[in-house]
């Protein structure tokens, strides 16, 4: 189960005004209850989720926390997933100024595809897509300063 699937389930739970939900599927179990505040509280077992879920707080955020880093996606404005920066630095779309960009809009990528470089302290960090999908949009420009968790590309997973 990916984080975005969990989010879809919980959003649906709120939309349908369900107060309790339990799902079991292939060694994964989700139990969710809606508290007084209207936000779902949830316990997930047994696998750790890519994004940390605050089990003890009464009103967990529905938006994915940035600590997911480059693996789980944040949401870009268009509703696609986003590939986010796991480090701070400067964004480069190509291996060198003269070469072609690593990826273009419309490209199919898989987990190991290098999509860009974030340069930090003279170290060129190759950023991988970490999932299969189609690149929909570049969210930053070549040479832009990048902070941790910043969305870099909108990706349509498949």
């Amino acid at each position: 189960m990916e984080f975005k699937d969990l989010k879809k389930i919980l959003d649906q739970m709120v939309a349908s005004e369900l107060s309790e939900l339990e799902i079991e599927d292939k060694g994964f179990r989700l139990s969710a209850k809606r508290g007084g505040g209207g936000e779902p509280q949830y316990l997930v077992s047994p696998q750790p989720m890519p994004a940390a879920l605050p089990a003890s707080s009464p009103a967990p955020a529905a938006t994915p926390p940035a600590e997911a880093g480059g693996t789980a996606g944040g949401d870009s404005d268009d509703g696609f997933d986003a590939i986010v920066a796991p480090v701070v630095g400067t964004f480069y779309r190509s291996p060198s100024p003269e070469s072609d960009p690593f990826v273009k809009v419309g490209d199919q990528v898989d987990e190991d595809t290098v999509v860009c470089i974030v340069e930090a302290m003279k170290v060129m960090n190759e950023i991988k897509a970490e999932r299969k999908g189609v690149i929909r949009k570049a969210l930053v420009d070549n040479g832009d300063p990048i902070e941790y968790g910043q969305p870099l590309f909108a990706i349509d997973p498949n």
């Binding site: 940035a66 600590e67 880093g69 701070v88 630095g89 930090a120 300063p145 902070e147 941790y148 968790g149």
Partner: protein, 450 residues
């Protein structure tokens, strides 16, 4: 003066540094973990860069991300605050090699004073009085016994790489000293990866008195008087005051001079604090350690001297000479700082993070609150549990105590439990009021009352 300073810290000290920068017209860059998105220092800085997830090791301690943040924002200096990377010589070196000024002493100064045993022998060579102790690292049980007998019991065995009260054992006789030696070594190995231990005479009725020094990069060093930090629990300070209520002026002067001598001896620069152990019964003081950073309790020194210590750090780091001479340092009045933490008195003061629904800070003449907390702010469990530093000043100690008592009444938090009731109890305690306390006082007081 610097164009832009990056603050490699969070919480109240990040806010404190931003304030001094603004006063000097210097632009500021805040760095923050994803847990600190709503932090005040992030909102008040000119620029803010997210540097990692909540865990400190992945954010506030993540050197590449911090240096990178300085590079992409064109910061020309980094202020490390206290804790985190403030006494990390490696970080100071990296700043230097990236042409970013580290606002603090040199990496050599940090290294030298970071190893407690080396610090002691450096001070011994500089003829600064140190607690009678072993000549260096203890290497055999025979040496341990001989040393302890020569010094006289009780003795304390301490880790060379130590801190935070770990790797320390007190022994009162031959029978317990060998056990203390072996236990201390094992704990030191586990906590610091370094089993080196040394021995000191253990001073039982001690006061922890520290001297603030400030040095520029031209060899000028001054001291700004002492702070009495004896009110501690598990080696954590809770209340500090300046000047020390019981120090006589001649001892005060000797301690100040010794601190300056210590700093000059190692060619120190920027802010530092020399900690002494003061033995009331003999009126003797002994060098304990030197902290090569600005400290949490620096405001009490600011209140009695009138100098902005963070501004001075920035000026000195940018190459300026000290803005005052020793003659111009005059302490007037009395100041007390009480640390208000989000801790539950009914659960042995366990940290109690949570949402601060509403907070009211006290005000009035001589009352200062240094805090990053605001109504609606969530204190997270990832860092320290500090809510605020409540600092008062008065023309004398009684006036300061009265103000602190009144200010604590006005300090209202609708949210996590805090140590405000403990502060109020202290202000009403006879021993505190007459200033007759030592490092054993607070724990005893808390065990009896809470």
């Amino acid at each position: 003066m610097f164009e832009r300073v990056l603050i490699a810290n969070r919480g109240e000290i990040a806010l404190r540094i931003i304030r001094a920068c603004k006063d000097l017209g210097v632009k500021t860059v805040a760095v923050y973990s994803s847990a600190d998105e709503d932090a005040m220092h992030v909102q008040l800085a000119d620029d803010a860069i997210c540097i990692g997830p909540p865990a400190a090791t992945d954010s506030y301690l993540k050197i590449p991300n911090i240096i990178s943040a300085a590079e992409i924002t064109d910061a020309d200096a980094i202020h490390p605050g206290y804790g985190f990377l403030a006494e990390n010589a490696h970080f100071a070196e990296i700043c230097s090699s990236c042409n970013i000024k580290f606002i603090g002493p040199s990496p050599e100064n940090i290294r030298m004073m970071g190893d407690k045993n080396t610090a002691r022998s450096t001070m011994r060579k500089a003829k600064v009085p140190i607690t009678p102790g072993s000549d260096g690292v203890l290497t055999s049980e025979d040496e341990v016994l001989k040393c302890a007998r020569d010094m006289g019991y009780p003795v304390i065995i301490k880790a060379s790489a130590g801190g935070g009260g770990k790797g320390m054992r007190v022994a009162h006789n031959d029978a317990s000293v060998i056990k203390a030696y072996n236990t201390a070594m094992a704990e030191a190995e586990r906590a610091f990866g370094n089993a080196d231990v040394y021995m000191e005479k253990y001073v039982e009725s001690a006061r922890h008195i520290e001297v603030q020094i400030m040095a520029d990069e031209h060899g000028n060093v001054v001291h700004l008087g002492e702070r009495d930090c004896s009110i501690q629990r598990r080696h954590q300070k809770l209340l500090e005051e300046a000047p020390s209520p019981l120090l006589k002026n001649d001892v005060r002067k000797k301690m100040g001079d010794a601190a300056v001598k210590a700093a000059k001896g190692i060619k120190y620069s920027n802010a530092g604090t020399v900690e002494f152990l003061y033995d009331e019964s003999t009126e003797k003081f002994y060098f304990m350690e030197m902290n090569t950073r600005i400290q949490v309790e620096h405001p009490v020194t600011e209140e009695v001297t009138g100098f902005d210590l963070i501004k001075e750090q920035l000026c000195v780091a940018s190459g300026e000479k000290l803005s005052f001479t020793q003659k111009e340092v005059n302490t007037t009045g009395h100041s007390i700082e009480f640390r208000i933490n989000a801790e539950d008195p009914s659960r042995d003061f366990a940290p109690a993070p949570g949402l601060v629904k509403w907070v009211n800070f006290p005000g009035g003449i001589g009352v200062r609150t240094d805090s990053c907390v605001y109504s609606g702010y969530k204190i997270t469990p990832y860092y320290d549990s500090m809510v605020a530093k409540l600092i008062v000043r008065g023309r004398d100690r009684n006036e300061a105590i009265a103000r602190l008592k009144r200010a604590l009444e006005e300090f209202i938090v609708d949210g996590p439990p805090t140590t405000v009731p403990l502060g109020q109890a202290l202000m009403n305690d006879h021993q505190f009021i007459v200033g007759e306390y030592n490092t054993a006082y607070l724990e005893k007081f808390m065990n009896e009352r809470f």
